[in-house]
Amino acid sequence: MSASVIEQILARAAAALTGTTAAQANVFRGRADALADDEIPGLNLRRAPSNEDGVGQNGSRLFVEFDVEHYVDDDVEWETAADALHMQVHGVLSNDAQLAALGRGLRCTGTDPQGDSADRVIGKLTAHYHMQVFVRPGDLTRSIS
């Protein structure tokens, strides 16, 4: 069974980000376990709730949402470090031709910064991303955008 277009988008985003930002190979998909020291800076891509809107009888527009969690540890300027990593991520995603071929209108719709302190300061910036994809109602695996 082929993967859905949503899964294809997330897989492509993860592949495009691997080795192309300061996070290097620390790129994860839906990771539920805690990150270790050597996995920071790191990125975690999470599928978010998506909606579908019928277009006539033969088309559906999917509003694909996903989050990119950026993890940094910087005792002094974690917000600046997280922002720098996000700008690298945004540049990669915005310029990836394979990702663009899967849908339209990739955009970052917002960010959510969080910081906390223990034996070091951890910063987490969650960037919310949105894409639109047109599909046939009977086939969620193929974009017809």
Binding site: R31, A34, A36, N44, Y71, A118, D119, I122, K124
Partner: protein
């Protein structure tokens, strides 16, 4: 009836004497005995620890946020790890320092 403060002070001193598992050295000062702990803590989805050093309050007078110290816990297999103080919490004659890796 014995003075409560005096009892508390004696109890604190006895506890520290029996439970101390490390020494802390501030700058070039003398090593100070105390209780070190670094309980596991997950913050924002990241593995971390919450290191603390506890000693009799009078021994830690003047210690402020940002102070640098080395913890020597040979019995725990950890020697002279550098930390900075990021929170000072005093209660009942003891002071707990919350530490951050330097």
């Amino acid at each position: 009836m014995a003075d409560f403060a005096a009892l508390e002070s004696r109890l604190n001193a006895a506890c520290q004497a029996h439970l101390a598992n490390c020494t802390a050295t501030f700058g070039g000062g003398e090593p100070l005995g105390g209780i070190f702990d670094a309980e596991y803590q997950e913050i924002l989805g990241v593995s971390a620890a919450r290191p603390t050093f506890v000693a009799i309050a009078s021994a830690l007078d003047g210690v402020k946020n940002g102070a640098a110290l080395a913890i020597d816990c040979t019995s725990l297999g950890m020697v002279a790890s550098p930390f900075t103080v990021n929170e000072v919490h005093a209660e009942h004659g003891m002071t707990r320092l919350y530490l951050r890796r330097a």
